[in-house]
């Protein structure tokens, strides 16, 4: 069983629709299935250590957050039966049920998206979407964004240190700190604008930034049609229609 880009996209869609329409127990079961699939299906494993760590840390944070928010909902939404009382604090049934429902939904959505982006190269997804009709300019924008995102932290750090050395009020009171935002952002935007102009020229010279280049034909992509893709798309429709049919 191979999970390539089309299958992964269809599976993610199916999980997202189920998280919105399914009961909390189904959502939590599917979270467990996602975690298991990540371990046993080679195509769904994290690409590298960074994405694996991100998957674990984000999910662990959301799991702890969901438990805390469920408890807070139980305490603050005072509707339905009192489940238990402790030190004068009452925990109500409807608040807990609401917290579990939203927590399970958020966990399934997050795990589905982390599974997709953790196991697939962004370039693979954009190449597939390009062949399916996404304009080449948008694909180029996404690739350039990844370049900028990678270089941005060091740029910000350099400008921040330089402005601090010049005496910008980066450690003063709140209003001064907000005002010093322009001292950090202005050089960042100015340098990036100059870089954008240079990159725009370079792209035009290479024929990339042209309206005639609508689809990039040079990239080999997977066929969108397979049993798994159709299965997941069918299940998405079922998940969407079932709650409506059952009333």
């Amino acid at each position: 069983m191979h999970f390539r880009v089309p299958e992964k996209l269809a599976m993610t869609l199916c999980l997202l629709v189920t998280s919105l329409t399914g009961p909390p127990l189904l959502s939590l079961t599917l979270v467990a299935v996602v975690l298991l699939a990540r371990l046993i299906v080679p195509d769904l494993r994290s690409m590298n250590k960074i994405t694996a760590r991100r998957f674990r840390s984000v999910l662990a944070f959301l799991f702890c957050g969901a438990i805390v928010m469920t408890l807070l909902n139980g305490i603050l939404i005072r509707e339905g039966l009192i489940l238990f009382q402790w030190a004068g604090i009452s925990v109500y049934e409807s608040g807990i049920a609401f917290g579990i429902r939203t927590g399970a939904r958020l966990l399934l959505m997050t795990s589905a998206l982390l599974l997709l982006f953790g196991s697939t190269q962004l370039s693979g997804i954009t190449a597939f979407l390009n062949r399916m009709g996404l304009p080449a300019r948008i694909v180029m924008t996404i690739h350039l964004t990844v370049h900028f995102v990678a270089s941005m932290p060091s740029r910000i750090e350099r400008i921040y240190s330089a402005q601090e050395a010049r005496g910008a009020p980066v450690r003063a009171h709140l209003v001064s700190r907000i005002l010093s935002l322009t001292a950090v952002l202005s050089p960042l935007i100015l340098s990036s604008t100059v870089e954008s102009i240079e990159r725009g020229k370079a792209l035009e010279l290479r024929g990339y930034n042209s309206s005639s280049r609508w689809v990039d034909d040079t990239v080999q992509i997977d066929s969108p049609y397979s049993f798994l893709t159709v299965f997941f798309l069918f299940m998405s429709i079922i998940a969407l229609l079932l709650p409506w049919l059952l009333g």
Partner: protein, 205 residues
Amino acid sequence: MSSRLRLQFDRELDGAGLPFVAFCIALNLTVGQITAALKIPLYLDSVGTVLAAVLCGPISAILAGAISNILAGAFGNPAMMFFVPVIVVIGAFSAFLAARGWFRSWYLAAAGGILQGVLAAAVSAPIAAFVFGGVMLAGTDILVLFFRSVGNTLLQSVFYQGLSSDPVDKTVTYLLVYFICRNLPLRLLQRFHGGNNILKPHTVH
């Protein structure tokens, strides 16, 4: 894509437009690093979108906002993907105001920021309420719970929470973009499709 829309798309993303929109998306995604370094309790996560709206135009702004939120999902904040409609509204509204000269004076930019904040709160409230039940696992969840505990409905609570933070956030964002664009050299501003959104009409050649 209709021919008129495609023409506008081509015009806005021509030359420096495309790399600049990519930079605006990266700015949306990394501005949190600056606010964290300066210990400022604001998101400012639409500063790139507003910048694209002012300097490039509506399609660039919508594109910058939508890709920012989708990539935020890829970079570890999947809930952002569901707020694409909000950022689309922010981009379109910012471009609308920019085209009418609201970024030529600071007080109009501030007023636009307040309006934008109210609009953003109104558009994001149904998504936050019906998709996430008001629970985003962020510090602002406490405010939603507080408003619910005093008897408001879920939708009202999420809207009030948005009203308590969005207008301030968007006003600071608009003013930042105004001051940054004012500081850009004229020769750079004129390279962009929306350069005359900042300049007085007689300065554009």
